[in-house]
Symmetry: C2
Subunit: 377 residues, 2 copies
Amino acid sequence: MASPDTEKTTGKGLAGVIALDTEICFIDGQKGILIYSGYDIGDLAAHCSFEEVAFLLWNGRLPDDRELRDLSLRLASERTLPPMVIDTLRLMPEDADPMAALRTGVSILSLFDGEADDMSPEANMRKAIRLTARIPVIIAALDRLRKGEEMVDPLKDGSTATNFLYMMSGQKPGEAAERTFDACLVLHAEHGLNASTFTGRVIGATLSDMYSAITGAIGALKGPLHGGANIRVMEMLTAIDRSGSSPTTFVKKLLADKERVMGFGHRVYKTIDPRATILREMVDSLSAEQGTRKWYDMSLEIMDVMAKNKNLYPNVDFFSASVYATLGISTDLFTPIFAMARITGWSAHLLEQWKDNRLIRPRAAYTGPVGRTTGRS
Amino acid sequence: MASPDTEKTTGKGLAGVIALDTEICFIDGQKGILIYSGYDIGDLAAHCSFEEVAFLLWNGRLPDDRELRDLSLRLASERTLPPMVIDTLRLMPEDADPMAALRTGVSILSLFDGEADDMSPEANMRKAIRLTARIPVIIAALDRLRKGEEMVDPLKDGSTATNFLYMMSGQKPGEAAERTFDACLVLHAEHGLNASTFTGRVIGATLSDMYSAITGAIGALKGPLHGGANIRVMEMLTAIDRSGSSPTTFVKKLLADKERVMGFGHRVYKTIDPRATILREMVDSLSAEQGTRKWYDMSLEIMDVMAKNKNLYPNVDFFSASVYATLGISTDLFTPIFAMARITGWSAHLLEQWKDNRLIRPRAAYTGPVGRTTGRS
């Protein structure tokens, strides 16, 4: 047998290994650049809706008016759940982890999709649209049902952002709420070969179906090292609010105690996270519309302290926490909302994977014992 | 931004890339060697039960008598399902894909495990045992419920193999059935960094929970390029049976038509798959006990034709198909049974991953368009 010590792992966690080619997303962390299919994220967030961006990720180009109208109609017609998903949400414990609930809900969706195992590009595109339409419905349903409230049917039309906020609250969102939440979806739609997207592609590469791949991706996004960063930002904001201290005092104490201030710095971005800059500019009008500047002002003050004292700038999680809190969304739904945006990137990567598929299967170096025998006969 | 053309993918599908170190399993495909934690698979299949092998994979050593008894007791006490899993199985369409059903069932298990998000090694070990106990119960339950039969409670004691066959049929299995099925579980328990195990580790590396990782692994195993090989063997055997031709005639025609004969050759093993040799020897006594040599004789004849005409030898899937068919198990349960064995390897890899965790996140090379703008303002 091969000698274990001649084998070396390529890089722990596959760091620096280039696993595949993609036309979907480019990130230059040094320069703070994020590009979806050739378009700068700032351009997209300012000028395109989440639905346009979804189309872009899936097709590699922006839709024309007719294509965008068609997609919106399709999404509207798919904003329903098989009764079993609702029955299952009702059977869940009230304190069920929302990501575990979403993972289960998406897994069940496949049982009622006659195209679940149809691997034609057309069927897979329809499933991508279906999942983009239904994940928000699952999240809104689980939030209302666990509060003992009835579900709110979606509107006949309107954007994903509008429909989600409406299904959550039963009230049509204001203009700034819709616009800011839509931008959050655009900003979270895609981010290269992160752990959940990679999970989806590894599962998809076995030619397993889109629901299996997305169920796995949701499970990966649930991990604290991946999707939960804005939850920890919110926990910090809540702790500051409860402490009675000023944000400045609170954060300076964290820094003095060498504790981590959440929402600053990013594994990929070594400069300002371009998504944070975009969100920061929107939270002002959102706060005015919602009539509470609490989370926004707190965030601005913390940002200021961190810039002056540590020369560190906020990442996208830092401001998405204040946005969702200002919209009155429960903290434990922040990661499901991440999934509701990222479903577009996940499914785009699956469509790309299946265009030229190959099983993704690295090797492991064996470092265990050799030559043992049970001695039994 | 970095120029796309300076970036090269390391190897398509990460082929040849060594992603991590493992002490769990070593495979030498050239020599036909498979080793779990230092023990040759032949030694383990001949002398150790599935429960002993599970303990070995989890702990890196075989259990002593007391440890084995403790594990058996723990498994027996965990062979129950939360009522919601059963309710959910009843709500599923009768023709639900069993792998989609299992993926859903495992996802639901987490909602009723108070330790689901406890990442201590002790809690994770308990979850590994719990999943090893419960996956067979889910599979047996879904098979009986879809046939309109009531579930059969497990025995108070006995092996995983005995209990599974009992819960499936309501009858205690014969000695050869128990022994052969137990060996099948041993042979499928672990096989290095295959696509489902890798999926599990990628999900686990985000510090997401074991249920999320296993749900994803089941989704990957569902893929035709991964777990479904023995199903395709069985489809071939069934087609031969229905054709009225002799196996020799049927297979020679396949070869003449340049069609693939299922169950021969293996991506990893370039010589005889050691697991096939072990199973082949057991199917004779199993067939005698079950009173039908049909699938076994057919398999031997095909093996002979392939050896003489193509110099190709059967893989583990080839004989596991005849074993499961001889036991009267539905073809669409072959992959779930694979999962019921592999849960031990999957969970062993997760325990290993979490001992020295690092996010698994390769990079992608961007080959898409650059410098596009929406032109909107």
